[in-house]
C-alpha cells in the first residue's frame, strides 16, 4: 500500500474546500490514478468543522483516511490544523492558511482563540504557514483562497507536473478562470 497517498483537507463550512478537492481529484484522475474522496454534508456544514479526504494510487479501497495516515494535512483555517493533526503521518507535511475563524464559544466570549498554534505546529511537524487570504485579496477576490491552497498543496505533494491550469479551465466558470489560475500559481510559490 506504500504507493497510496492520502490528502486531508480541513477547514470551516463555506471555505470552498469541496471545490478545491474536486479540482484535486480531477487532476489526479487525468493522469490515470484511482481516486476516492469523502465529504461531509448536512448539519455539520453549518459553520462547523469540515473535512474532505482524498486518496489516490493504483487501487484505492477505503474512502477515508485514518489517524496517523495523512501524507499531507492542508488546513484552510489555523485552529483546524491542530484539531486534525492526529490524522497526520509522523513524517507528513502540513500546509496552513494563517487565517482565524473564531468558533461559537470564542464569539460569545466563553473561550479565547488559542495562542501559540504556529509554534506548536512548528515544533512537531514539517509545516508551511502563509496568509492565503491576503494573497487572494491581493488578486481581487478573497474566495480564491481555496485555489491558493490547492497551489501550495500540489507543490508540496510533488504532483505539480499535472496540468492543473487545464483542470481549472475545465472546472470553474469561464469568467473566474484567469483569477483562479493566478491563485494557483501564487499558491505554488509559497512552497
Amino acid at each position: 500500500m506504500a504507493d497510496i497517498k492520502n490528502i486531508l483537507l480541513v477547514g470551516v463550512g463555506g471555505q470552498g474546500i469541496i471545490l478545491a478537492s474536486k479540482i484535486l481529484a480531477k487532476g489526479l484522475m487525468s493522469v490515470g490514478f484511482d481516486v476516492k474522496m469523502s465529504e461531509v454534508h448536512g448539519m455539520a456544514q453549518r459553520g462547523g468543522s469540515v473535512t474532505t479526504q482524498v486518496r489516490f494510487g493504483e487501487k484505492i479501497y477505503s474512502p477515508i483516511i485514518g489517524k496517523g495516515q495523512a501524507d499531507i494535512l492542508v488546513s484552510f483555517e489555523k485552529m483546524e490544523a491542530v484539531r486534525w493533526i492526529d490524522h497526520l503521518k509522523k513524517d507528513g507535511k502540513v500546509v496552513v492558511n494563517d487565517y482565524e475563524i473564531p468558533s461559537a464559544p470564542i464569539l460569545i466570549g466563553s473561550a479565547e482563540y488559542p495562542k501559540g498554534i504556529v509554534e506548536e505546529l512548528q515544533s512537531k511537524t514539517n509545516v508551511t504557514i502563509f496568509k492565503a487570504a491576503d494573497i487572494a485579496k491581493g488578486l481581487g477576490n478573497i474566495k480564491t483562497m481555496n485555489i491558493v491552497m490547492v497551489g501550495a498543496l500540489v507543490k508540496a505533494m510533488g504532483i505539480d507536473n499535472i496540468d492543473w491550469e487545464e483542470v481549472i479551465k475545465n472546472t470553474v466558470k469561464e469568467k473566474f478562470v484567469d483569477i483562479n489560475i493566478k491563485a494557483l500559481r501564487k499558491g505554488m510559490e509559497q512552497i
Binding site: 474522496m37 448536512g42 474512502p63 491542530v82 468558533s103
Partner: protein, 592 residues
C-alpha cells in the same frame, strides 16, 4: 465513459441506465442528492419531492403497479415513516421493478439515531442489495430492478453515509429502454385485504426460498480466495475497509446480496478457512444469522456495534495494530459546533423565545434544531420529523391533568410541517389543545441544502406550481388563533408569543422570512426585498455587556481586550436582531 461520482450520483445514473421512469423522495442526509441527480434526466424520468417518505414510496408503488420501473429514496429514519406501505408491498409484489434506497447514517453525522436498516429486509421479507462503492451503486440499481421483476419483490437498496458521500470512478453503461409492463387488474394480488393477504403471505415464504437459491448462486455474493488462515465475510463499505487492512492476504466472502443471506455459500466458505470473522458496521445482522445456522465465527465480540466503522478499528481489533499518532496540546483547540448562520431568520424568533419563563419547548428536525445549542438553549426536545406538535400537546395535557402550571410551545419548520406536522396540528385543533405552535417558514427546505417543498411554489424538476398557504391551512383545520410575523422583528415575535401564551385556545404563529442562504425567487424578492445594509458597533456607546453575543450570531465577536463587541462586515447581512437586542443602542446600520 468514466466519471468521478458520489454513491448518490451513481445511483441516479443507475436509475437512468435501468430504465426507471418514475422516482420520488423526501430529502434527508445522506440520501438527498440521489433525487436531485435523478431529476436531471428530465427527458426520461419523472422525479419529484414528496412531502414525506411514506408518500414518496406510495407514489413509486403506484408507478410499479402501473407497470413502470420506479425508485424511491430516503434516509434510514425515513424508512420508518414509509414502513407501512413497504411491508405490504413486500406481500403483494411488483409489476414494474421497484427499488427502495435506504441511506443509513452510522456515526450519526446528521441524524438522530444510527439504526441499521438491513433489519428491515429481514423484517419485511423483501430482497436486499448492498453496494460497497460508487461503481456498485450504479450497477446494483439495474441488478436490483431485474431481481425485483424476476422474483416479484420490492428490493431494499441499502447504502450508508460513506457510500453515499464518497466519490469514486464509475464506468458508465447505456440506458436500457424497457417498454412499460402491461397493467392488468389483479385484485387478489394488489388488494391486501385479509383474505388475499393470507394467500400472499404463503407466496412470500415461497419467494424467500427462491431468493435464497439465487443468493447462493449470484455473483453479487462472491469468494475472493487467498490464504485461508483468515476468512472474512463482509458487505457494504465494511468490505472496502477490510480490503484496506488485509489486502490480498486473507480470503473474503464479499456479499452484495444480503437478504436472504447465501447460507450455503457461507457454510462452504466457513469450512475452508481456519478463523472466520464477520466484519460489519453497526448491528450483528450477518453474524446472528450465521451463528443461528450453527457456524462458528467472530464478530461483535471484537468489532464495536456503536458508531461508524473504519479500517483502523478493524486493524486494532483483529491484528492488534495501531499507527503512531502525533499528540498535540488540546488547549490549542476550541470546539467548533455547527451554528445558525449570520442572518438566519430563526435567530430572532429563538432569541425572543429564550426570554420566556416557565415554558417547555418541544422542537423538531431541521437547521432550527440548533436553537437547542448555547447561548440560545431554547429547545427542550427533538425526537423525529413532525413530532414537535404532538409531543407538545401530550406534555401540555400531562401538565394540565396533573395540576402543573407550565405552558408548552412547539417549534417546527415549514418542510417538516408539511412532512408529518400537519397531522399533529389536526390533533391540536380536534382535541382543543392550548399548545402554542410555531411554524418557522423560511421558504425552503434548509438543512439538506435547499430543496423545494409544497410551500415554495416550485417542483424538483423546476416547474412552477401552487404554494400551500399555511395560515389558510391552519384556519381550515380549525385553529382559531393564527398569526404571521416577521421573525427578525423581536417586538412582533414577543407580542405574538405573549398573546398566544395568554390564550386557552389553540394558537399558531407563523414566522415568515427566507433562509439567508436561499437563492431568492422572483416572488421572494417581491415579498422580502433583497437589500443588505450591515450592522456595526458604535464603540463609544458599547458598554461591553455581551448581550448581543447572546443571540449566538457568528458575525458578532466579543473582543475581550477592549471589552467591546465587533461585527464582521463580511458575514453580517443586516438582519438587525442584535441591534434590537442591544439595551444601549450601540449597534447601528452602517452609513445610515
Amino acid at each position: 465513459m468514466k466519471k468521478f461520482l458520489t454513491g448518490n450520483e451513481a445511483v441516479a445514473r443507475g436509475a437512468y441506465e435501468a430504465g426507471i421512469t418514475v422516482a420520488s423522495a423526501y430529502p434527508g442526509t445522506p440520501s438527498t442528492e440521489i433525487l436531485e441527480n435523478v431529476a436531471l434526466y428530465k427527458e426520461d424520468i419523472y422525479a419529484e419531492w414528496a412531502p414525506n417518505e411514506k408518500v414518496a414510496l406510495e407514489v413509486t408503488i403506484g408507478a410499479s403497479i402501473a407497470g413502470a420501473r420506479a425508485l424511491a429514496a430516503m434516509k434510514h429514519v425515513g424508512v420508518n415513516v414509509a414502513a407501512d406501505p413497504f411491508f405490504t408491498y413486500s406481500y403483494t409484489g411488483v409489476n414494474g421493478g421497484l427499488v427502495i434506497v435506504s441511506a443509513d447514517d452510522p456515526g450519526m453525522h446528521s441524524s438522530q439515531n444510527e439504526q441499521d436498516n438491513r433489519m428491515y429486509a429481514k423484517f419485511s421479507k423483501a430482497a436486499m442489495v448492498e453496494p460497497s462503492d460508487s461503481q456498485e451503486s450504479k450497477d446494483f440499481v439495474k441488478t436490483a430492478i431485474e431481481i425485483s421483476e424476476k422474483f416479484d419483490t420490492p428490493v431494499l437498496f441499502r447504502m450508508t453515509t460513506r457510500i453515499c458521500h464518497s466519490k469514486g470512478i464509475v464506468e458508465f453503461g447505456e440506458r436500457e429502454e424497457t417498454p412499460m409492463k402491461k397493467y392488468e387488474k389483479n385484485i387478489p394480488k394488489y388488494v391486501a385485504a385479509p383474505a388475499n393477504a393470507r394467500a400472499l403471505h404463503v407466496k412470500v415464504e415461497d419467494r424467500l426460498k427462491k431468493l435464497e437459491e439465487f443468493s447462493n448462486t449470484t455473483e453479487l455474493n462472491r469468494f475472493e480466495w487467498n490464504d485461508k488462515k483468515i476468512g472474512i465475510i463482509t458487505s457494504g463499505v465494511a468490505y472496502q475497509y477490510s480490503k484496506e487492512v488485509f489486502g490480498d492476504k486473507v480470503s473474503y466472502l464479499k456479499l452484495g446480496f444480503t437478504f436472504p443471506l447465501p447460507m450455503q455459500k457461507i457454510k462452504e466458505f466457513a469450512a475452508q478457512v481456519e478463523t472466520l470473522y464477520i466484519i460489519e458496521e453497526l448491528e450483528p445482522y450477518i453474524e446472528e444469522q450465521v451463528k443461528a445456522a450453527g457456524v462458528n465465527c467472530i464478530g461483535k465480540d471484537i468489532i464495536p456495534r456503536v458508531g461508524e466503522l473504519n479500517p483502523d478499528i478493524i486493524a486494532k481489533a483483529i491484528l492488534g495494530e495501531e499507527r503512531e499518532i502525533i499528540k498535540f496540546d488540546e488547549s490549542k483547540t476550541v470546539g467548533r459546533p455547527p451554528t445558525m448562520c449570520a442572518g438566519c431568520p430563526h435567530r430572532g424568533f429563538y432569541y425572543a423565545l429564550s426570554k420566556k419563563k416557565n415554558i417547555m419547548v418541544t422542537g423538531d428536525i431541521g437547521c432550527y434544531t440548533l436553537g437547542s445549542a448555547a447561548p440560545l438553549s431554547a429547545m427542550d426536545t427533538c425526537i423525529c420529523m413532525g413530532s414537535s406538535i404532538s409531543t407538545g400537546h401530550g406534555a401540555q395535557r400531562a401538565f394540565q391533568k396533573n395540576g402543573i402550571d407550565k405552558r408548552v410551545v412547539t417549534v417546527i419548520g415549514d418542510s417538516t410541517f408539511f412532512h408529518t406536522g400537519i397531522n399533529s396540528l389536526i390533533d391540536i385543533a380536534y382535541n382543543k389543545s392550548s399548545t402554542v405552535t410555531v411554524i418557522l417558514d423560511n421558504r425552503i427546505t434548509g438543512m439538506t441544502g435547499h430543496q423545494e417543498n409544497p410551500g415554495t411554489g416550485y417542483t424538483l424538476q423546476g416547474e412552477k406550481t401552487g404554494m400551500i398557504n399555511i395560515p389558510k391551512l391552519c384556519k381550515a383545520i380549525g385553529i382559531p388563533n393564527v398569526r404571521t410575523v416577521n421573525p427578525l422583528k423581536l417586538n412582533e415575535v414577543n407580542e405574538a408569543l405573549d398573546e398566544a401564551l395568554a390564550s386557552d385556545e389553540p394558537s399558531v404563529i407563523i414566522t415568515r422570512w427566507p433562509c439567508v442562504l436561499k437563492r431568492l425567487s422572483q416572488e421572494d424578492v417581491e415579498e422580502f426585498g433583497n437589500e443588505r445594509i450591515v450592522c456595526e458597533v458604535n464603540e463609544d456607546s458599547c458598554r461591553g455587556c455581551k448581550i448581543c453575543t447572546q443571540t449566538g450570531c457568528p458575525a458578532i465577536e466579543f473582543d475581550s481586550n477592549i471589552k467591546k463587541a465587533r461585527i464582521d462586515e463580511n458575514m453580517c447581512v443586516g438582519c438587525e436582531v442584535c441591534l434590537q437586542a442591544c439595551p444601549f443602542d450601540a449597534i447601528e446600520k452602517a452609513g445610515v
